[in-house]
């Protein structure tokens, strides 16, 4: 990499420098490299290199033999297996029969996406069009799977289970987190106490959360047993049915992550200038009005950023479903990371890498799309 420093040289010493001085000066001149080199090298060696290496795994059949690993190139077969082969139902869910309702919704989605593409055709550059086409393709693909599986009354696979955790989970967490932040931003006493208290779940080891939740959700030995008995639900087992298992998983994940949204939104709400709010109050606006007209617009940029960060983390969920249900009844609470781990345990490292890569692609496209169209849009709006 070539670079220029735009800082002036440190005070130049006259000729006749000692060798250690010269050495120090040389180091200082290249300070730019030395400062950034460790970070760059670490990321290159331990993140970029393995990611590319992982692609080789995904394209091969890997075997353990007496002298280590042997790779056999098989092209896209591992990926094919996930979409069309023996792993299709596990990964994508069941996609037939395709109901009428599903087909209708899918048609609507396709039309909406294509119209959005067409609208941006006129005003965008080639690079931007490429980005939008990728987003559009992903949207159509996900829409197809959704309509063919869930909306047609069929079971969903790990792909959509992950998306469930991300989309529904983030939404719930955002609503509750922002609500809590709003409550805490009111002139109440003990705000710092609540801030500290509500922050704790975020820091607890996810494994610990998993165990705690598993114990608590246990229907015979957990603390809710008498309540369930009163409600007549004592024979209900949340872990026996796919959707209830997923919901419980999402609730437990929310327990851990709502604090994150809470902290960020609280800080944002606290930074809204008080004079605007007070002026509105003097004018006689109700709290609801104040929130909607005054506070919220100022807070939106932070809100969407927080949502993006939360979504990025949510795609990686693994500890909780692993501990609480071992993947759920059948495979219904398996996230894609967990799916990949289980496949790895079966010593099928090629498929494991393929699933990991699919997760990477999904995460990148969804998050980048969200970032580009929502986050940047909001930031542009506030700056305007």
């Amino acid at each position: 990499m070539s670079y220029q420093t735009n800082t002036s040289q440190p005070g130049a010493s006259p000729a006749g420098l000692s060798s250690s001085d010269r050495w120090r000066e040389w180091v200082d001149r290249h300070a730019g490299t030395f400062f950034i080199a460790p970070a760059v090298s670490l990321i290159l060696i331990f993140a970029i290199f393995p990611t590319i290496y992982s692609m080789v795994f995904a394209l091969s059949r890997v075997r353990f033999t007496g002298d280590g690993l042997k790779f056999r190139y098989v092209g896209l077969r591992n990926f094919e297996k996930q979409f069309f082969g023996s792993s299709e139902v596990h990964f994508l869910g069941r996609t037939e029969p395709f109901s009428i309702f599903g087909m209708l919704v899918f048609a609507v989605i396709v039309v909406a996406v294509l119209w959005w593409l067409y609208r941006s055709w006129k005003t965008a550059t080639w690079v931007r069009m490429l980005g939008r086409s990728i987003s559009a393709a992903m949207a159509i693909f996900l829409g197809y799977i959704l309509c063919a599986s869930l909306l047609s009354g069929n079971a969903i696979g790990t792909l959509y289970t992950t998306l469930f955790y991300v989309l529904v989970g983030c939404f719930v967490q955002f609503v509750i987190g922002t609500g809590l932040a709003f409550l805490c931003s009111q002139p109440i006493r003990g705000r710092n106490f609540f801030r500290v208290l509500f922050f704790i779940p975020l820091m607890v080891t996810p494994l610990g959360v998993g165990f705690a939740m598993r114990m608590i959700a246990d229907v015979t030995k957990g603390p809710f047993e008498p309540i369930l008995g009163v409600l007549g639900l004592q024979d209900w087992v949340w872990s026996a049915s796919p959707w209830s298992a997923r919901f419980v998983m999402m609730i437990c994940d929310s327990w851990q992550w709502i604090p994150f949204i809470f902290i960020c939104m609280l800080a944002a709400l606290e930074n809204v200038p008080r004079d605007h709010v007070e002026a509105a109050q003097v004018d006689g606006a109700s709290s609801f009005h104040i929130f909607r007209e005054v506070t919220w617009p100022q807070v939106v940029p932070v809100a969407v950023t927080v949502l993006l960060i939360r979504a990025i983390e949510a795609f990686k969920i693994m500890d909780l479903p692993n501990i609480m249900t071992g993947g759920g009844p059948g495979s219904s609470t398996e996230s894609m990371t967990l799916h990949s781990v289980y496949v790895w345990r079966a010593n099928d490292m090629g498929s494991s890498a393929a699933i990991a890569y699919l997760l990477l692609i999904l995460t990148v496209v969804v998050c980048a799309s969200f970032f580009n169209y929502v986050v940047l849009g909001q930031i542009r709006k506030t700056r305007a």
């Binding site: 990499m1 070539s2 220029q4 420093t5 800082t7 002036s8 180091v27 300070a31 730019g32 400062f35 950034i36 460790p38 970070a39 670490l42 990321i43 331990f46 290199f49 393995p50 590319i52 992982s54 080789v56 809590l180 009111q186 002139p187 109440i188 710092n192 801030r195 500290v196 208290l197 922050f199 779940p201 975020l202 820091m203 080891t205 996810p206 494994l207 610990g208 959360v209 165990f211 939740m213 608590i216 030995k221 603390p223 809710f224 047993e225 008498p226 800080a267 930074n271 109700s286 609801f288 932070v302 927080v306 990025i312 990686k316 990371t337 494991s352 990991a356 890569y357 997760l359 995460t363």
Partner: protein
């Protein structure tokens, strides 16, 4: 926002609005107060209850757990120290000096490892019980890795805030192509990895120098920053298997060094992101005057800039410490026997042929989460000073 007075009709208000109308600016209506406090109280219960449950279960015995839930110590059940005893003292090698022994062993083995090219010192084998081993491993790895991560990340963040970089896009492409070449050569053609890496590195410097001037397009600081921060999007599962193979090739599997390096990389994006914001917000005059006085870059960084960002630094360090403490996936893949950390040990207790021994598991879980809860409390004191918000807004 329109400041028009006529916008809000003070006369025709609904009952609900009247109830929540603040009596004065900056205060809340009594009804509103009740509603707010009760919601907060409910949520506090929701937050504390699982932790409370874990703690009291660690003091229960089999009967208290299996015969249905019991809620209050001394009222519903008799607390015992059984679970704690079994976990911490039942193994013959568990005793008070265990942690001290383990730390000494780690120091001994690190010295042996460092000096291994020169003189061979046989490594000491762990002599302590699993729980202390896991605890010491967790502590050592978290702390060292955090220090390393924050150091490297702060330096990079500072550099990105103050120095302009212009890496040529072409050079980057060459680099990526060479990486692909190294991987293909090593996996399919069986070339030893050190040979292919050395060749690739040499090629890179040669090509960069030769072709560098032909490349026009270059990236800027913003791109580099974005690249570093976006590494966080990478799901760890994508890299664990190759990392396993890589570490095995250099015989670093099941060692502390491997986990320290890995944890540092995993959290580098967060450090860079947070610290960059702090550095960018510092007034540049201080540093410029120091430069005129002849200070070196590193001198400015260490003596002037770092002390100014102490609260932010502390907050970042605590956050990374907690994240490292909780990390599970890398540890599970890269450790076998010697480097088991607390999360792995707790996870291994997940099955048992006597039923999951909830009380034992809770005892270990308590040991695992109490340190992080303490760290979390410390961390919030920094956050309440609005220290981390700037980064989020940026």
């Amino acid at each position: 926002m329109s400041g028009a007075h006529t916008k809000f009709d003070l006369q025709n208000r609904g009952l609900l609005e009247k109830m929540f109308e603040p009596p004065a600016v900056g205060k809340m209506a009594p009804v509103a107060k009740i509603v707010v406090y009760s919601f907060l109280a409910i949520w506090s219960l929701f937050v504390l209850f699982p932790i409370y449950w874990v703690i009291i279960t660690s003091f229960k015995d089999a009967a208290a757990v299996n015969q249905g839930p019991s809620y209050f110590p001394f009222v519903d059940f008799q607390p015992t120290l059984d679970a704690w005893r079994i976990n911490f003292t039942a193994d013959p090698y568990c005793d008070m000096a265990a942690i001290a022994r383990q730390l000494y062993l780690l120091a001994h083995n690190s010295v042996a490892f460092v000096l291994s090219p020169v003189v061979t010192i046989p490594p000491m084998e762990p002599q302590i019980c699993k729980i202390y081993l896991a605890f010491t491993n967790s502590v050592v790895i978290s702390i060292i890795s955090t220090i390393f991560c924050v150091a490297v990340g702060s330096m990079a963040a500072y550099a990105l805030a103050r120095i302009q970089y212009r890496p040529k896009f072409g050079n980057i492409m060459i680099f990526v192509l060479l990486i692909v070449g190294v991987i293909l050569a090593t996996t399919y053609a069986g070339v030893p990895w050190w040979m292919s890496s050395a060749v690739a590195l040499a090629l890179f410097f040669f090509l960069a120098r030769a072709l560098g001037r032909h490349f026009k397009m270059s990236l800027g600081n913003g791109d580099i920053l974005f690249w570093m921060i976006s590494q966080r999007i990478l799901p760890p599962i994508v890299v664990v298997v190759p990392l396993y193979v890589m570490f095995q090739a250099v015989r670093l599997l099941d060692t502390h060094l491997a986990l320290i390096l890995l944890y540092a990389v995993a959290n580098l994006p967060i450090v860079v992101w947070l610290m960059h914001d702090f550095f960018a917000n510092l007034p540049i005059e201080l540093e410029e005057s120091a430069q005129l006085d002849g200070a070196t870059r590193f001198g400015i960084f260490w003596e002037i800039v770092m002390p100014l960002t102490r609260p932010g630094l502390a907050a970042t360090t605590l956050l990374i410490l907690v994240l490292n403490w909780n990390e599970y996936l890398f540890a599970v893949f890269l450790s076998t026997v010697k480097v088991q950390t607390m999360p792995i040990m707790v996870a291994a207790k997940n099955t048992g042929e006597k039923g999951v021994l909830w009380w034992e598991m809770c005892a270990v879980t308590v040991v695992m989460i109490i340190p992080v809860i303490i760290m979390a409390v410390l961390l919030t004191r920094f956050i309440s000073k609005g220290v981390l918000l700037g980064a989020v807004k940026g």
